[in-house]
Symmetry: D2
Subunit: 403 residues, 4 copies
């Protein structure tokens, strides 16, 4: 009996060409696995297509809810942003895809997993570290890096398919290189390859209006949170996925969450991309809006440091790692009281806060206002400053006459 290889399959030209290539070069049975993380691709007819190309089976796995609940929300709770701006849309989806591939491989008794990620990107690393972490016994075939792989253009892939009896209508494609899921869509290539160029937003945007094309009328929203995750939108209970979908729609309409960055890939090069993350941007902002009211100063400060580390790790393919898990344990503890309601409105690319409430708010109007009360006497500040500034004063006394 032939060995089985599970292929991460999208239905596109690249992964389709891999099917006959695998069979030819590895003499194996190919199990295609298409993992739905909200990329909204056409899944109709995928099964026929895979079979026509020689796959022995196609799995279609919808893991959108799992993606939102177990990958996105921990990232929101961590306030994790990579390099000032990137909300980690691709970086959070890859490990889940790796996990599903591993699950299918185990179920099928496969000995290898194959992916078609490029040899210059982050995603190959994210797929492979995910697989190594979960199933170190599985072989990994990175088709594009494989010495046996000879195709180097869409044309040669189409050619190869035809030569192996696959006659599918693949268009010549010279659009952006994109990755989409329920959290975001990324765009690379074309004019973006020159960082001195402004993005061609008219051509490029998929999920969003640009701020200019957003409605003149703002929209008011409220999100209810429990322990750091959203539970209702405008007072209506919904699943986390439903809230995100709704926010994507509204946020996209109002031009929220379009960013344009040059980032540092794990493989050591800078690359430039545009990301649309409408709902995600709103969730991140609203989550911070609520944390302002709940977290004490020291926790908030330290959490900012943890956020940076969390983002770096996840970007760098270490979702399934002891450090990421320990950081999540830290974050979870901080979210215990992150419960309340955040009000805001969207207007042409802006998220404008309109008040926040929480049963666990540490804001105390009596203390904060300009009156003196029970808890705090203006004169206490005297002793506070004396001690708070003591080392400053002593240092100045000791050093000033030595300089």
């Amino acid at each position: 009996m032939k060995e089985k290889v599970v292929l991460a399959y999208s239905g596109g030209l690249d992964t389709t060409a891999i099917i006959p290539w695998l069979k030819e070069n590895y003499d194996c049975e190919v199990i295609c696995c298409c993992i739905d993380v909200g990329q909204k691709e056409e899944l109709d007819g995928l099964e026929e297509r895979a079979k026509a190309c020689g796959a022995s089976k196609l799995y279609i796995k919808n893991v959108v809810d799992e993606y939102v609940e177990n990958y996105i929300m921990p990232t929101v709770q961590a306030d994790a942003v990579f390099e000032y701006k990137y909300l980690l849309g691709t970086a959070t989806a890859r490990p889940l895809i790796a996990k599903v591939l591993v699950d299918v491989a185990r179920q099928e008794g496969a000995t290898a997993i194959c992916h078609g990620a490029t040899g210059k990107g982050n995603d190959q690393i994210r797929f492979e570290l995910g697989i190594k972490a979960l199933a170190p016994e599985l072989k990994i075939i990175a088709a594009w890096r494989d010495p046996k792989w000879t195709m180097d253009s869409r044309e040669s892939e189409i050619e190869y398919c035809r030569a192996h009896g696959i006659n599918l209508p693949f268009s010549a494609d010279n659009s952006y290189s994109r990755d989409r899921n329920i959290w975001h869509i990324s765009h690379e290539g074309l004019e973006l390859e020159d960082p001195s160029c402004a993005p061609n937003y008219d051509h490029l945007l998929v999920l969003s209006n640009s701020p200019e094309k957003a409605p003149e009328e703002d929209v008011h929203l409220s999100i209810d949170w429990e322990k750091g995750v959203p539970v209702a939108l405008n007072g209506e209970k919904m699943s986390q996925r439903e809230i995100l979908e709704k926010l994507n729609e509204i946020g996209g309409q109002h031009g929220i969450g379009i960013i344009d960055i040059v980032e540092n890939r794990v493989v050591g090069m800078k690359s430039r991309g545009v990301y649309e993350t409408p709902g995600g941007t709103i969730l991140m902002e609203a989550h911070q809006q609520l944390e302002e009211l709940i977290l004490d100063r020291e926790t908030l400060k330290y959490k900012r440091l943890v956020s940076v580390e969390f983002a770096e790790l996840v970007y760098a393919a270490k979702w399934f790692s002891p450090l990421r898990e320990a950081l999540t344990a830290f974050v979870d503890k901080t979210q215990e009281y992150v419960t309340g309601t955040t009000n805001f409105r969207l207007y042409k690319g802006n998220i404008i806060k309109e008040g926040t409430t929480s049963p666990y708010s540490l804001y105390d109007e009596d203390i904060a206002s300009f009156k003196t009360g029970d808890l705090y006497d203006h004169h206490d500040a005297e002793g506070f400053i004396t001690l708070y500034g003591l080392s400053t004063k002593v240092r100045a006394m000791k050093l000033n006459n030595k300089k």
Copy 2:
């Protein structure tokens, strides 16, 4: 001869009332010192006013350029933001004010410095730690915390002034509590004291249009940078102060940089404020835009951590501290190559990047694009991932069968 006290004087009711109060309670000569950090207050007639109230002298010190160059720019270079959002406008100005007060005190041979900051705020601490750091021998009189201070309302201050022969036209004031300088204006009080309320922007904004009221037409800008500081706007060489003033004007018009936050004061309480920082917000964004192209991944990551510490320290009144100075030495080193041009446009609250260039850009189009070249062969990724993921794989092998 009487001892001299230098008073931080604004010309407002609070600091005016302090003049007779100091003379009565400390039997001293009062030297008023008004420090111009760009607050755009009416300085005409200030001298007469101070004298009329019994001051023996008034200094007016314009230190706007020093403020921009030595306090604001190091903060921009540090990308320092307090608690997600606050750009440290008040926190950076206070230490310079303390420094000027100390300079005047030394010049005059004064033995004490007096300020009128409230006993619940951060500013008393910033003034006093600044003075302790620079002149530990000087006595500090915090009028409002002084046991001899008995006035507890504007009315009682006006009363006290009259009783001491000062008849000046002070209006009853029940507006926001504000602090303004060339970098920002802050607003506290009134409806802002309830964090569940949306700010009344129509009433509140001083420097800016709200995004709604901003022009329909966007504006394109470019800033040239050298070693992390701006040197030209739209190709025209200007001083840092001139660039900031121009950006304040344009940014304010286009609704840039209005934030609404609940923050954690040094004295242990949460407070809520709205800040307008139009030019500052643009400078911070554009600075990061340029750093994206220049800084390698490790430096950028670590700098984000340093930014958090820098912001915490400056907020917490430690501008003149060995740690702040050491962090600045770190930051300075990172700015060596932060030279180039940032293009962007402003539209109704949005800053939209339009391309970045630098002679020191680390972005390399040849590597980043999808071709294989000299520097990097797709197959190198094979070895990279094997080693990069080695500990992940070994850990999985060792632990998977133990769990």
Copy 3:
């Protein structure tokens, strides 16, 4: 009925004098509470003594096991060391003492807690923040800082006691100021107040021999660990307290864990102390010895940063704080596999490792030795270094001709 005040009572002169002072100045009933954290003080006759001084009740609470398990061990697991050296002996005990005082106060329906800590030290802050965190409604009386407190010497305290009918034999004391519990003993005062003086170890040491006086013969020990806590000594299962007691005895004999430091107190001054922590030093070392084998590089690195923060927080009286709890959640997660056996020997102040084993060791002899194997081919290093060094090389290429 009079209000009740719970007094943290040690039986010494200071806290004894507080009993009549409280009754006189606060017209209250005094409930003494003596909390045993392993300080090995003479508790016999304490009840009579307290009663003789006018206390209405004495609680003696032995919380040594709770101290070891819930306060010391989390600190060991965190590898927390303050300012290079201090193992936090006093800092971990104070919050537990505060907790017991609060428990007694609630049980008794008391309205206040009184302590006799000095106004210059850290302990007043640790007691009081502990009480504020657990029972914000309770009043705190800090006798020595109380304006009504007038005694300023041992003599005046003895005098005051006599005047209130208390005739107990208190010796004139001019020894070191000490704090002892099961984890450590600290020494301050006398020659230690001059940091240029060497400590007089002959006079000073209580728990330990100096290395010179330690036996010529070494002693071999092994500790078994489960999830980061010790469970057996030399193969014999014991409670954590028993292990610590035994290690104190053996470690003290062999001169382990004597340190001499100048530290930075929370109140802003430097102070100098000598600490003996024989068993604790062994536990901390052995814990790290095991972690070396278990933790991956990234976790170990980040844990070192968390250790610093943990130590700072605990030193600074924030045991009961959301950040300390979140850091502990992080640490707990890292300890999941910290299970194994650490062998070492003690010889005249030295802890010398003698081999470590763990079922979860990530050390792999096959990979580490100089042969090439399945998991790792020497040639993989080629690709690794190309990518790992890519940004370094590109930067050099881009900048070298610009400098």
Copy 4:
């Protein structure tokens, strides 16, 4: 004319065999370069040997002073320790070796640099990243990873040498794998490959006595420091190198600085080594001893975090990197006042402090002792604690009744 290759040459079998191998496989002229960083190898006759093996030239570069001043001392000032214990002896020398190789290559007009480091270690990475950072245009030949390299044992290397007319007396060697320089010697291999084994110190130690074999008599030492570097030993001015050599001698005699660790290599595996760093351990300790007196609490805390990062970077081959340079700028600033004298004695593996003095000491006996003085009134602590604990108390009030 043939191209020139600069070979990092030690005179040992491995690098000797590379000479004919390079000529055969790369048809080049071989320039040998032996870099003396204090490894105390036999350099006599090296030139003849190199020539006899076919090298066209031999450089011997003594860079011990440069190594001590520009690589070791910045590491001491940074208090940089990798993974709890390792003082970075090899990691700091490799970049300097790379720099000298680059200098020679440029002087000679060579086009490549060749090294003989193993494909499993850190050193290949340190050499190569050093070269990439300084001379990205140079080709790097890693002989042992080269596909053309076929020798896989000492025997085959000796064989290869003979076949190429080189008849030198190379002993069969089955000792530890060692790296030595003026800072340390490392040992790997043999029994150390099994982490459950105790090291065979009798067999292993090169620079040091074990504590047992150290003299019964202690030795008293003092080091004078200026701005964080040692300038005198026992009152006698010496160069940094001389001080280190003298401390190596005395420290080695007294059993100081022997460590046994399992560390995480950059290439993803754990390895186990024993390090002797006698003088280095003393310098690091004494440096911290002085910093205790000079650094304020915040600087000391942050410097501990920077130390971790510095150590990680240097271990990970990033000496020549913008981040390492920026961290050094931070550290330099903190060393401005690290001037003074540290007294201590050595006794059988122990470094025992005996008093520290500095003109810039922040320790103030008057404040630290138990009296109340001008700078600090016990009652000031009242206000301090009220504000310092305010957020703790408010949080408890707000949450206690919600839990």
